[in-house]
Symmetry: C2
């Protein structure tokens, strides 16, 4: 290693490092240097470089030459700057010690606070804070923390000593212990320390510091840290840096204070300093709620100079970071220290207002507003009703589930779909509560205000349908146990019966007892202006997934530029249709099947007319029948009996027929184009319905652009087969009506094999649309209905970092998407390529699609604004990257 500089100081308005030195100083160290360099009054400190860590680990835990001297110099630098002394009984210097690599990672050493306390300096603290109890409480906490974090003594051991002392003294809470008892506790903790380490507790602050520094270095090579780096493929790092920073206190007297503030109002975005503070208090007192903090504006009354200084720095920080800041500060004996600043969390409404305001103020450009100031979850929040969060008490929460579909809903509990429809018809608001839902429940789901399931993941039936409809849903809430027979659910303590009111928040995934108030979303002028900017920078289309005219119209309002996916199967569940559908399914021969299909034709045609009309002038992609047929027939004995009577088929025969439809793995069974190939008459009927609707509307003067999509194609032969069936029907329809409509035939790419042979398929197909839900299922071999069992463990163990059904797995699934796009366009240059899986509304996935050069993403109506934003941000990052690369070339 290069000899020379090992330690980099910062503080007093300057720094030896800067933000570009992440590799050497770690992320945290580089940041502290940067803040100090721009003049921010942060507590001073120093950073020991990552090179030292590397040396230490390579040289059997030895320190490099010169480190000791530089460490001492740096400590003196701090002592001089603060006018304090390490271990001093009058003016003691205390510091914190933190690890910090170039990339943040778990498994590294926790923070050690108040290092420097010993039997001498504790007296100094007591004197300075005029609070002996505080001083000894700090001391005993320090021994515990140092023992645990630095020396590896179980925290449990200190805890046991504390508990037995409390018993002896006869108190319940720690706060009831007096000064003498705390002094006693310090002695007992020292004994624990000695018993475990074999040494007395180090009184020399320098010795404490040495121990802590080595502990940071050691933590770099701990098993947990190594495994984490291995699994996350973090390589090329030297090691971790060590950050040592002066401790400052807001509780040294009435000239001290501590507080938290935002540079703008995080609830509604108003441009005002917003926050709270406490005089003579520690940071934790502000949040603990024992004393009531005061409004930040009152600081002007009690400490006008500090207030003015704070205002100065908050303005500077907002200008510097070009974003609203969330700032922690402490005033120690009249001197203001900024402890931390970060971009502030805010509501959706505030995010949009702040973005628009900052542009108006000339603080940022529109490009920056779109790029940095509004996140997808902000738009999500803005577009859905919310529960007033201040209204919810912890003890009202019945359970936590998955935030399956955002928005708030309030209603009475019902446990079955028919019941939901009945109550809805009476004007009642209901929440449908099911263990899980199936296609038979869509009627009830549609009638309900929201849906709650106790089983199933983010991509379970309930979740997918609810998101598609923008209906609030909490899924997989296994805190509750549903009992259909007794018509109630329990969460251990409580029993909630059918008819009781509950509220759900589908964005947070919580279920609340009672009828809570809901705030309706507001798409105000700020929103409209912001979305105009979004579309200015965006150059990839956003379409929607919509199965009916209502959803299509909603999506148009949200800015959709066409339909990327119309699922035709949902159209078969209507009351008048399902019987014809079932007749078709149980037909014994082609002619019976054709008759049943004939009855379905007018319904389908009507559906398509409605959608084409709403989407006049825009493309509409219609997917042919996809799910396995057994989803359309009942499975319960009584229902089969009823159906047998309706269809005039002996029960046994019908039952056998239905049993034969059952599959071991329906996801990989007789569905998609496999249906259209075994029963071409189904494809014929659907093609006819689509093209007749299109022809009729064209005759009525409506612009129609139908795109017929063949699902589940795995071989080019399948595509050719179905394509010919469609072309044949098209010729027939156009001939008969004497009108020609320009239609396209393309395919879903959702089978891994289709991605591999995409070049062959593209010879015949005019467009591709990635069905990334199924593609993810098959590429991983995860059944999305069953994966809940292990995905949770996978996320916890770091085997997966994200749920691949929510965010596209770029390495695996994405590689197939990329391969298919390239191979497809190699043979058909202008192949239109889009994505219509759930991922079409996920910002990371949208960015990925943009970078691959896709023509559009398609998502559920409520996700359209989110996708628009993500697409604009993707375009801006690429442009920025290009700009940066060009700059480098100059």
């Amino acid at each position: 290693m290069r000899p020379g500089k090992h330690v980099f100081t910062f503080g007093g308005g300057s720094a030896e490092g800067n933000k570009s030195m992440k590799a050497l100083l770690g992320g945290k160290g580089a940041n502290l240097a940067e803040m100090s360099a721009i003049g921010l009054p942060i507590p001073p400190g120093f950073t020991i470089s990552t090179e030292v860590c590397a040396y230490y680990n390579e040289h059997n835990n030895a320190w490099p030459q010169g480190l000791e001297e530089q460490l001492q110099e740096s400590v003196h630098f701090l002592e001089n700057l603060m006018g304090l002394k390490f271990g001093d009984s009058d003016d003691p210097l205390l510091v914190s010690v933190r690890s910090g690599a170039a990339v943040s990672m778990p498994g590294m050493m926790d923070t050690v606070l108040n290092l420097g306390i010993n039997d001498q300096s504790v007296i100094g603290i007591a004197r300075k804070t005029h609070n002996e109890r505080f001083a000894y409480d700090c001391y005993r906490r320090f021994i515990d923390m140092f023992g645990d974090v630095v020396m590896g003594i179980e925290h449990e051991q200190f805890e046991r000593v504390l508990e037995s002392l409390k018993k002896e003294v006869g108190v319940v809470n720690d706060t009831e212990l007096g000064v003498d008892e705390l002094k006693d506790l310090v002695d007992r903790y020292k004994a624990v320390y000695r018993k475990n380490t074999g040494y007395v507790f180090p009184q020399d602050p320098n010795e404490q510091l040495h121990f802590a520094i080595n502990a940071v270095f050691n933590s770099w090579s701990s098993k947990r840290a190594r495994t984490y780096r291995k699994i996350n493929r973090i390589t090329g790092l030297l090691g971790t840096a060590v950050n040592v920073e002066v401790m400052v206190y807001g509780n040294m007297g009435e000239d001290c204070a501590t507080g938290v503030c935002f540079t703008r109002n995080p609830a509604d975005g108003t441009d005002e300093l917003y926050g709270e503070f406490l005089i003579n208090a520690q940071g934790e007192d502000v949040v603990a709620g024992i004393r009531t903090p005061r409004n930040i504006n009152e600081l002007n009354d009690v400490m006008p100079e500090s207030y003015a200084e704070l205002l100065h720095w908050t303005n500077l920080l907002e200008t510097h970071y070009k974003d609203m800041q969330d700032i922690e500060f402490t005033i120690q004996q009249g001197k203001l220290y900024i402890l931390q600043t970060r971009n502030g969390k805010r509501t959706g409404q505030a995010a949009v207002k702040i973005a628009v305001d900052m542009v108006r103020e000339g603080l940022i450009t529109r490009r920056e507003a779109v790029m940095n100031l509004v996140e997808s979850r902000h738009l999500d929040q803005l577009l859905h009703p919310q529960l007033r969060s201040e209204e919810i008490r912890e003890d009202e929460i019945l359970g936590h589930g998955l935030p399956a579909s955002p928005g708030a809903a309030v209603g009475r509990v019902v446990f079955n779909s028919d019941h939901a429809e009945e109550e809805h018809a009476k004007g009642e608001k209901v929440i449908l509560v099911r263990i899980e839902t199936s296609p038979e429940d869509v009627g009830g789901m549609s009638a309900a205000e929201g849906i709650l399931t106790s089983r199933g993941g983010m991509t379970s039936h309930a979740a997918v349908v609810a998101r598609g409809w923008g209906k609030p849903c909490v899924a997989g809430c296994d805190d509750i146990i549903i009992n259909y027979e007794d018509q109630h659910f329990t969460n251990g303590d409580q029993t909630v019966k059918a008819g009781d009111w509950i509220s759900i928040d589908g964005a947070k995934g919580i279920v609340i007892l009672g009828k809570k108030e809901v705030e309706e979303p507001e798409m105000d002028d700020n929103y409209r202006e912001f979305m105009m900017w979004v579309d200015e920078f965006r150059d990839m289309d956003v379409r929607t997934n919509a199965d009916n005219p209502k959803d299509a119209a909603l999506a148009l309002k949200f800015g959709a530029q066409g339909i990327g996916l119309t699922r035709t199967e949902h159209m078969f569940f209507g009351e008048e249709r399902i019987l014809a559908m079932r007749k078709m399914i149980v037909a014994e021969n082609e002619s019976d099947r054709r008759n049943a299909l004939k009855a379905l034709l007018p319904f389908q045609k009507q559906d398509f007319r409605g959608i084409f009309k709403v989407m006049a002038g825009l493309p509409v992609t219609i997917r042919l029948l996809d799910p396995p047929l057994h989803e359309f027939v009942p499975s319960e004995k009584e229902e089969i009996e009823e159906l047998a009577i309706e269809l005039k088929i002996p029960f046994n025969k019908l039952n056998r027929k239905i049993r034969m439809l059952k599959e071991f793995n329906p996801m990989m069974g007789h569905r998609g184009c496999r249906l259209g190939i075994t029963y071409p008459e189904i494809t014929e009927m659907q093609a006819r319905a689509i093209l007749e609707a299109a022809v009729e509307l064209k005759q009525e003067g409506v612009e129609v652009y139908p795109e017929i999509m063949i699902p589940l194609v795995g071989t080019s032969e399948e595509f050719i087969h179905q394509h010919e069936v469609i072309d044949h029907i098209a010729a027939e329809v156009f001939n008969k009506k004497g009108v020609f409509v320009d239609y396209k035939v393309g395919t879903m790419i959702e089978i891994p094999r289709a991605a591999i042979v995409a070049d062959k398929i593209a010879e015949e197909a005019e467009f591709f649309s990635f069905g990334t839900n199924d593609l993810t299922q098959l590429t991983y071999g995860y059944s999305r209905d069953d994966a809940g069992k292990f995905l949770e463990v996978y996320m916890k163990e770091g085997i997966l970092h994200e749920d691949p059904f929510q965010t596209l797995d770029q390495e695996g699934v994405g590689s197939l998407v990329s391969m298919a796009t390239k191979r497809g366009r190699a043979v058909r240059k202008n192949l239109k390529v889009g994505i219509c899986g759930e991922h079409g509304g996920d910002p990371d996935s949208v960015r990925f699609c943009y970078n691959l050069g896709l023509n559009y993403v398609s998502c559920s109506p409520y996700r359209v604004p989110v996708a628009r934003l993500a697409a604009a941000q993707a375009a801006l990052s690429v442009n920025r990257k290009v700009a940066e690369e060009e700059a480098e070339l100059v």
Copy 2:
């Protein structure tokens, strides 16, 4: 198109074309030219080139200049050569017309025979054959065939006329019609022809010929032919050629004969002329069975010259084609014509004997013997018992199913597994008949002589297990309907009850009523010698899939070089084990689970000791637990009740637990390494059992090479996790025992994603083994248990050309296999790569694996010889290809 030569004649011991002119003359034309060129006495003829077809189709059905003249010349060539005249009433020339492109394909025109018959020449035929009835029967058949094939008149129309005539005359069979009636029929057929075409039936043979030639050209652009070429991507062909060949007759008198012969005995391989003939007969008479044909040797008695000539040609053909030939011949008025020769079909025993004999005779090299003379199905047949086929009457066949596992079995029908085991224990031979089988049936399957199922495909549970055990199985026999309650099955007419005798032939997929005789296989000296040659040329290893010492020993006998796949789950089904397994599954917590696993450990260890011992000195790949846990627990209420008592768990609790294990798509559910990651203690137990067994055997002096295989890996993180668990246990075991065993840890590649990220996985894994069963399921999205519903239609429609579960899909799945191999070896040069799916025993797939450079294939014991042969053939083709390429370079 180039002017000049359009027609190429052959016959009279020479030819204008040769076998290299396939593109111009089509496959058939080039072959006829070749046969003629080597002097074979084939009926003369001529071929109109494919260029003419292209001209015809590009020029609005016009003929190129010069064609007419060349056609006339060629007809004269035939007339002169044969001394016959087109349309002559004394010596009429008749010809056949056939299509023939460079690649054979359906959709092209059928053959037209006897062209040249008209009202005049029919008299000539009657005179020559002394059989007026035959002549007119030919004539009326020709009108039908010409009308149907050339003019597109429905055959049905001729059929109706025939039927009404028969009614008028009062006869039932065509053969009962006399000469006069046939003459009448000719007139009536002419009327049908005129009614449909508007023209009288052409009397001019030249006109007939023109029509037929144009019909062949038109058939090239028929919809069916075009679709076939499109789906099969047949491009670059000019068109089809037209082959016109003189008709010869074996029924013109006592100096005529017709026959079929093999150059060696196709049943046992003896070197003798083998066949049959009939004097004064047509070819169809030999097979029709109306007259009894005579042994070919008797031809020497009646026509010694022809017999000598035949012997001369059969010897020449065998030498020329270097294979046993199946020859059709006709003797017309003393002149021998060879009509057709092709490599003869033969039994396995004959194939091996002929190959070995031919090498001894110096006719072929060992290389040629291995490469060309024995096919995999020959070895398959050789290694399994057979039914004596001459014994089976058509009316004894109860049904046809899939040839799921070769070999013959005879036994009494039983319908459930317990019953099978009981009967077997009593010494009875039984056939287990099930609608389908599940892992719960393995006991019964093992006890049975063979297995018959009415549902499921070539890769259903029954089929896979049976093939693994080399036990005969007919699967998916939907000709029969099984009724468990009444303990019988029916095939429409017949009812077979439990206890009745049936016989099954698993190689042919047939089910026969009654107790048939079985021939045991014989691995004779010829077989041993042949397999030695096979191994001489082979340079890829062949391992076996074996789950127990018995199978391992069997596979060794068949030449396996190690185990490529030991499935550990089958080990849990034993009586003493399944209870511990179930305890493990229903355990409420880790500690209960660990206790149950502790009980399983000694069993597993014992299993592994047994296998390691048999395989001493060879590698043994053991796959950790793979199937979903619900496969190990009962699903019927009574069984669950029993289990509840056994486990001392309340029924409701157990039932809920078991219901929770149920999955929507178990193939993609909680299985494989997902189990090992959620319950690492399972992996720990298995690793411990493997490594303790290995250590103990090493101490006993046995060489052990364990390879631990992690199933269903889709991310490198999963592999790392399980690898660490195994290494941890290994260190513990080795430390405790003080013995170190060299073990490898690798993975199945069976998830598409694993193939994509194979480079990352190979950083950690020491070997890959392609689990192509699951990889095929996921790459296609086909559930192998459900795909039967559409695969049949797919094969019929030409959407799939082969069942991808039997022969590896090289384009899709194979592309992932290739990608994974390349990516894996890019980071780990010596990565050991094998395949252990069903495809490991399929010759085409073995060839593919060889070409990818895999280290080994692994297959069930009975497939090992087949795989050895396929591997040798693959090596020889590559060498041949290299040799050919080198030759080209010279």
